[in-house]
């Protein structure tokens, strides 16, 4: 098992050496194809997932069959952090928006370990809190901000998690995640492309101008990053520098 301090996942990389030792015997690998669910709403969360790569969308489903994205996580977070803290029933569904690989630990194991280590318990509480902070901001954003700003934010967040300017996503998928009609995405994507910020073709969006997208997005991008920095010590720039050091 590689050193957890070098883990691509921020939670694992931030563990104290003692907590890393506690977790190390229980780590299992997991790979998820694009579109695979980690859990669905009301499922029992039997394992906690620490992504290395890819993007996991937390989505809220309605009885019509529609669903809207409430937030997204990847190497910066934990999927199911609340489960070992006695919150084992899934409140939403978690789907791999982009194929993902990473590490799982069984919920039952973590339930025992958090009783042994207060620092481990606190880390999981923080990562559970970041989901709340994130989804609250997205709720405000969805209610009040225009699609162009929301889409710009969404593209920047996805780019930060993938650490790539190439986003393997369809506009159809975007329209579902953002809760808007298909053509609204067509129009806004074209506007961003005409402004030189992105270039899209079938199934793929290329980010061309990050600063331009930052100007185009609402305050919610910075707000979400501020929550991540304050609660769990993660920020996109740090992740990019880490990636640059790896190459």
């Amino acid at each position: 098992m590689p050193m957890l301090a070098n883990s691509p996942n921020h939670f694992l990389a931030s563990l104290s050496p003692t907590d890393a030792d506690l977790l190390r015997p229980h780590l299992k690998s997991l790979t998820l194809a694009q579109g695979a669910f980690i859990y669905k709403a009301e499922d029992l969360i039997d394992r906690v997932y620490f992504p290395h790569t890819g993007v996991i969308s937390l989505i809220v489903g309605l009885t019509s069959g529609q669903f809207v994205e409430a937030g997204m996580l990847g190497r910066n977070g934990v999927i199911g952090a609340g489960a070992p803290l006695d919150g084992s029933i899934a409140l939403n569904s978690a789907i791999a928006q982009v194929g993902s690989s990473g590490i799982t630990v069984e919920t039952g194991v973590l339930k025992h370990l958090v009783r042994e280590s207060e620092t481990l318990r606190i880390s999981l509480v923080r990562h559970d809190q970041i989901v709340s902070a994130h989804t609250q901001q997205v709720a405000a954003c969805n209610a009040l901000h225009e699609l162009e700003e929301r889409l710009s934010r969404w593209l920047l967040q996805t780019r930060d998690l993938l650490m790539s300017d190439t986003l393997p996503l369809t506009q159809e998928f975007l329209s579902q995640m953002l809760g808007v009609q298909r053509s609204s995405v067509t129009l806004v994507a074209r506007k961003l492309q005409d402004a030189g910020l992105i270039r899209y073709r079938r199934g793929r969006i290329q980010v061309l101008d990050v600063e331009g997208l930052q100007d185009s997005c609402c305050e919610c991008y910075a707000a979400i990053n501020a929550h991540f920095h304050r609660l769990v010590g993660w920020s996109p720039d740090a992740a990019a520098r880490h990636a640059a050091a790896e190459h």
């Binding site: 298909r182 053509s183 199934g203």
Partner: protein
Amino acid sequence: MARYYFHIKDGADLIKDPEGTELSTPDDARLQALRSARELWADAIKSGRELAADAVVIADEHGRTLTFVPMNEALPKRTK
């Protein structure tokens, strides 16, 4: 099931849907185009900007235009 493409006609410009959507029938496609048109109107009105669309054009996977929904058709009627 067939793949329908929802392009936006804006004057001489055709803003193309790069991927399309799988739907069961041409009627479903028309309903989708109507819903799209309504939202385009709603966004333009809320933001105070001009509507940059004349019609939602429905095409098949071979690029053939099947039908189109003029934006005016999507406006709600005033009943009183």
